[in-house]
Structure formats: structure tokens, C-alpha cells
Symmetry: C2
Subunit: 417 residues, 2 copies
């Protein structure tokens, strides 16, 4: 008997028909002798509908009240799914985030989970219940309802899996698993059988979309076995685990892209010790995620600082930066929107120098300009014009042998259960 956490996204529970289908899948797992905890997002359009209501009242709703508003979406889903599971003759009980014992930071809109008290879930499981938990939400120590922000339901699922000691955490999505790159961009993209946490983390961070990075971090930290699979069929998905069996010679495992990049440049910042710290501390306090940072060489006491942020953080970042301008000797602001980040990821890069150079070469050969570069041990990212991004992905997928490698990579993966 295994303890399994299953997570279903908003499109999987978009209407009563789909909720029934999810209920069947859940019931099957439970009737197979497993204990099951299910994490669900809000039904399809619910969140947008609620945002629409708020927009009719104000242009700048408080984040706290938005959390109160939006968390009703998952509460509706869990109640309906519990009902649907009950009609299949099983006991089921729904829990909001706080009822499931999920504590978060006292931040609204993008809180992080600070702890989970699994007592209630264990009690319900012991009583034979299929437990349905609202994703995306928790409660702060101030007693306010919070949301975890984007990818929050994935994070909820993995964090719960860690907290209750689940044997497996299944993330159901609308694709069959993790692909070498976005199949909508590159037709030759293929599903991976296995992938390591670190590779998945880079891919998730880079906008691969199937799994939120925070969820992968949690999974890595607590060694939760993660399976990404389709809610529309029973194909085996992609297993994310500690030591993936790497195919020999597969230096680059996947190509990711992120179309949501804004480059901010502060030109002419006076070079003083602590200035960099001040800028990025202030941005962090405003919960702005900074990605790539590039600083120029100091010249006549001033330097230029460039960095990328998500487009969605632009409104939060601007007042912070404007407030800092006078202090830094009044640098000039520059902003470039319409950018994208294209990245190659693979654990094999660590021991293969020259991969980055190969990437730059392929892009320049295709006439695609590189605006910024960032590297880690297992990835290289380039910021390019948004309109060239898809082309860049195709070029790199081919350059690194992923088009040709499809048979090798996917061998044995397409079997049905």
C-alpha cells in the first residue's frame, strides 16, 4: 500500500464533467489499495472571473484582499471533487490550505510555505478518507489567508508529499511529461523518461512550464519522487528523481525558453561599496525576482548595471528603482521589453567545456543577436529578441542533437500501462 499525492491543475477540473473524470482517476488509485491525497487548483476560468469582479471595483486591489478573493476558487474545486469522489462510493473530505496545516510567510500573492502540520491529513487518511486539499494557499502566522503565487498548487502537492512522507507525488498536466523542448515550438521535441532534480529545476526556472521551480526545489530538498504525467491518458510520464540515468553523450538534455523578460539598465551608477547590495535588497523586499545580472567595468567612478526581471514584476520594481536614483548619483534608466531568454540545460555540461561557445556560435550563425548571457554548472542562458526566440530554440534543439536523439531518448517510454 503506497501513500500517493496527486495534483490536478485548473484545466483538469474546468467543469463538472472533468471533475468526474478526475474523481474516477483518484478513486482508481485509492481502490488499488493506496492512500491518496489530492491537490487541486481552481476550476478553469474561476480565477479570471474573480479577478474580473475585483477589476470592476478598483485598479489596485490590496494583495491581502485578492488572496481572500482568489482562494475561494480552490475551495470550490476541492468541495466539488470531494462530492464527486463520494458519489463513487468512497469516503472523501476536502480541506482548505489552512485546514491542511499549511503555514506560509505573511506575504500576499506570493508567499512561501514555512511549515506543514500533517496531523489533520494523517487523521483523515487513518479514517479511510480520500483527502482533497486546496492548492495554492495557506495561512500566515498573522491568521490571514495567503496564496503561494504562480505554480503554487505544484508546490502545495510536493510540500504535502514531503510532510506526510508520500511514496510518490504525481503532477497531472496536459502533456505527457517533460520534453526536450516545447513541442509547440519544435515538432521534433520528445518526452524524457527521467530527469534529475537539478536539470528539472533549471528547466522549470527557465519557463518550461510543466512544473514550478519551487515545487522542484521542495522535491529535491526532501527527496520526493515526482512523476509528471498526462491527465488525459495513462501513459507513463517523466520521473524526476535524484540520480537520473543519464544517456551517455547527451550533454544537453533540454532547451527552455521564457518570453516574459524585461531588461532594466541603470547607466552611470556611482561606484560605491554597497550600492549593488542596496539595489537588489530593495528589489527583494518588494518581492521582485531578479534573474540575470550584468555589471560593467567601472569607468571614471561610474558603472552600468543591467538585470532582467519578469514582465509581471515591472510595476513593483519601478517605484523601488526610482526611489534609489537620487542616492546613486542619478543614473539614467533604460528598459527593454519584448525580450526572451533561451537556455540549454544538461547535467553533462559540467564536464564538457565549450558547450556555451557552441551555443553562441549556433545563434550567431543564425543571425540572432545575444543581449545578455548567464551560466550555471548545468545551463547556459542567452537573452535575445522575443521575435527570434522560437527560431533560436529550433536552432539549438538541432545543434545539440536533440532532433536526432529522439529515438534514443524516448526508447521504452511510450508503452501504455
Amino acid at each position: 500500500m503506497a501513500l500517493i499525492v496527486q495534483k490536478f491543475g485548473g484545466s483538469s477540473v474546468a467543469n463538472p464533467e472533468r471533475i468526474k473524470r478526475v474523481a474516477s482517476r483518484v478513486a482508481e488509485t485509492a481502490q488499488g489499495g493506496n492512500r491518496v491525497v489530492v491537490v487541486v487548483s481552481a476550476m478553469g476560468d474561476t480565477t479570471d472571473d474573480l479577478i474580473g469582479l475585483a477589476e470592476q471595483l478598483t485598479d489596485s486591489p490590496s494583495a491581502r484582499e485578492m488572496d481572500m478573493l482568489l482562494t475561494t476558487g480552490e475551495q470550490i474545486s476541492v468541495a466539488l471533487l470531494a462530492m464527486a469522489v463520494q458519489t463513487l462510493g468512497m469516503q472523501s473530505v476536502s480541506l482548505t490550505g489552512y485546514m491542511a496545516g499549511i503555514s506560509t510567510e505573511a506575504v500576499h500573492g506570493k508567499a512561501r510555505i514555512t511549515g506543514i502540520d500533517p496531523a489533520r491529513i494523517h487523521r483523515e487518511l487513518d479514517a479511510g478518507q480520500v483527502v482533497i486539499v486546496a492548492g495554492f494557499q495557506g495561512m500566515s502566522e498573522l491568521g490571514n489567508i495567503t496564496t503561494l503565487g504562480r505554480g503554487g498548487s505544484d508546490t502545495t502537492a510536493v510540500a504535502l508529499a514531503a510532510a506526510i512522507g508520500a511514496d510518490l507525488c504525481e503532477i497531472y498536466t496536459d502533456v505527457d511529461g517533460v520534453y526536450t523542448t516545447d513541442p509547440r515550438v519544435v515538432q521534433a521535441a520528445k518526452k524524457l523518461d527521467r530527469i534529475s532534480y537539478d536539470e528539472m529545476l533549471e528547466l522549470a526556472n527557465l519557463g518550461a512550464g510543466v512544473l514550478h521551480p519551487r515545487a522542484v526545489e521542495f522535491a529535491k530538498q526532501y527527496n520526493v519522487a515526482l512523476m509528471v504525467r498526462s491527465s488525459f491518458n495513462k501513459n507513463i510520464g517523466t520521473l524526476v528523481e535524484e540520480e537520473a540515468q543519464m544517456e551517455q553523450g547527451m550533454i544537453v538534455r533540454g532547451i527552455a525558453h521564457d518570453m516574459n523578460v524585461v531588461k532594466v539598465s541603470l547607466v552611470g551608477v556611482q561606484s560605491r561599496i554597497g550600492n549593488l547590495h542596496k539595489i537588489f535588497q530593495a528589489l527583494a523586499e518588494a518581492s521582485v525576482n531578479v534573474d540575470i545580472i550584468v555589471t560593467s567595468v567601472v569607468h571614471e567612478g561610474v558603472s552600468d548595471i543591467s538585470f532582467t526581471i519578469e514582465h509581471g514584476d515591472l510595476n513593483a520594481a519601478m517605484p523601488v528603482l526610482e526611489a534609489l536614483v537620487p542616492e546613486f548619483g542619478g543614473p539614467v534608466f533604460e528598459m527593454e521589453e519584448d525580450l526572451a531568454k533561451v537556455s540549454i540545460v544538461g547535467a553533462g555540461m559540467i564536464s564538457n567545456p565549450g558547450v556555451a561557445a557552441q551555443m553562441f556560435g549556433a545563434l550567431s550563425e543564425a543571425g540572432i543577436g545575444i543581449k545578455m548571457v548567464s551560466t550555471s554548472e548545468i545551463k547556459v542562458s542567452c537573452v535575445v529578441d522575443k521575435e527570434r526566440a522560437h527560431e533560436a530554440v529550433r536552432v539549438l534543439h538541432s545543434t545539440f542533437g536533440l532532433d536526432g536523439a529522439e529515438t534514443a531518448v524516448v526508447s521504452g517510454l511510450n508503452g501504455n500501462e
Copy 2:
């Protein structure tokens, strides 16, 4: 500076426009130097929409999951109203039932409030917040979200007013106050200036509709001054308080009717000590409200028992009664739906014998048959055919001088603020 609780029903917050109007009213009260706690119901059709979703999944949803589902309605309302108040430049914070400290019985769909911890509300008020609380809901000691059932938002408002020591609890509704009878039935119906808790309790119990009896009970028990008034204008409403100034000679203060009555008869119950107790204990355990009870004289060891219940409790009552039949010597069931209860209410009745007789005479003169009778110190109720109920109300309104008394009763009441 007064501490005021204001309660707005679902039609008052049915859409963003109306929410803005309620926000203005709330803000006006707060800007007048008062501390304000607002209790809100779910937006207009939200509850019906949610029930519709559940119905697509199951014919018999569990009451616990229905509570999880339906309480999202008020959570949406409070979040939106807090946003709307904030846009008027005031601080405002929304709270769910449990965040507002409301504890209830561990019953779903019609729980009673068992306690309120006002600490959070006081803290928010001290911080200068307009506090918006979700009506109709609380949390059981088992940590489950519960609903208070019909009239639950009124009850929430009055209970909160008692718990925080409010100076006044205003119940905003779609009528100007409490009337001598339903103005839709009797055109000559007039608004009452003041009414006592006991009279209001009888009227509320009898289906007068503007105020739920549990709310009035709370108000009486904790001596909460209650004002029923319109959310569409600023007319002074009806003040419900301990010692209403009774107009001399006004024996009957109001006529109520309830169109939702089912009469259940058990014919041929063996007369054994404890049988009555067993029946009504079993019904109480199933949370069925029994209203009028009539037992026949014992004849040859058997008697007949008749009682009325609300139509909505029929499904809960039937299995209970069927289970008891064998034990009681197999009595015959009889059920009569399509009934109504018409009642006259007035504190002056206590010292005026013959009021009941006058009521029976008026109804029989109009050719309206009386099926059951029930009396208390300040009311007399008759069960009649539903199709004759409105006629009965008109006859009694006239018989007891309420048509003619309008000027006396309403003098001084119609002034605007």
C-alpha cells in the same frame, strides 16, 4: 463614537455597482466617527450558481462539502467589499467566519453559534480598520467550516454585536422596516416604529421574513439594540428593543404568514409512556424543526399525533419516522402539503382574553377552514389551506384594526434623516 454592526444581505451586494453603494454607506458611517463592523451575505446568485455546480455532480451532496462550497460565496463578498471600502480611502480588512472567531456546533447546513472570540475584531478595529465579516458561517470544534443555515447572516451580525458590545446592530434589507403584515399581501400594511423582542420573535418565527428568529433571540438574550432598515434609502427603520412603547389598545401588532408548512399525522400510535419523547427526540437528532404539535385523546390504547414541519425538512423527517413505525405498533402515516400558517402577534394579548376566539370567528366567517391551532402568550397561529392564506391575512389585518390604525402606528416614522 459608537460601535456599530451593519448587515447587508445578498441582494445589496449582488453586483459590483451595488457593492460600491454599500461601501459608500459603510464609509459614511465610519467617517461619521463610528467604529464599524460589517456582515455580508453572498452576492445575489452566487449561492444558486454553486448549488447548480454541485447538482451536476450528485443528487445528494454531503452537508459538510456543501458548507465548504457555499461559504466561498460570502468570502468573495467580503473581499470585494473590503476592496470597495479601501478605494474610498479607508482602511478595511475582510474576515471569514472562523477568522472573526465564530465557533459553531459540529453540524452542517444549520449549525448554531456556540461562541465568539472577539479578539481579532477588536484588534482590527483598534488599528483603524473597517472590519468586514462573512455572514452565515463559522468553524466547528472539529475544525470544519460550517454554515448557520437560513437567516445565518442576521444571526452572525447580532451575535457579533453582542460579542463586541456594539451600541447598535443595523440590519439592512429591501424594505423600510417591520410591517403590520406583508405589504405584498395587504396594501394597507404599515411600518412599525418600534417592536419588542418577543413580538419580533413571534413575527420572525412566523415567517415575517425581515429578520431571522435566531437573530432576534440573540438580540433579546444579550440586549442588542436592533434596527431593521432599508439599504435603498435613509428612512429610519423599525427599532427592535426590550420594552417597546406599546400603543394603547393595539392588542394585535402584526399578522404573519408562512407558506411552507407540511402537516404529518401518525394515526393509531400505541399509547405508551415515552413514545412522544421518542418521536420528537429522533426528529430533533435529525435536525428537523417541529412546530405545532397536536395529540388526540387516547381511545382503545391508541392515539393520533399530528405535527407540522417545514417543507424543506421533509426529506430528513421521512426516514426517521419510517424507522419508528414498527416500534409504535405500525401507525398509518398521513401527510398534507400545500398548507400555510397564519398568525396574529401582540404583547397586548396576554391581558386580553378572547383574542383567539375573535380570530377563529373572523376566519370561519370568511369560510376559511382551520386545520390546526397553536397559541402562546403573545400569538395565535392557525394552519389553513395555502391557497386561502393571503385572504386570511387580509381578513385578520382588517379584523384587528390594523388597516384603520395605520396613522396611529406610523405617526412620526416616515421622516427622513
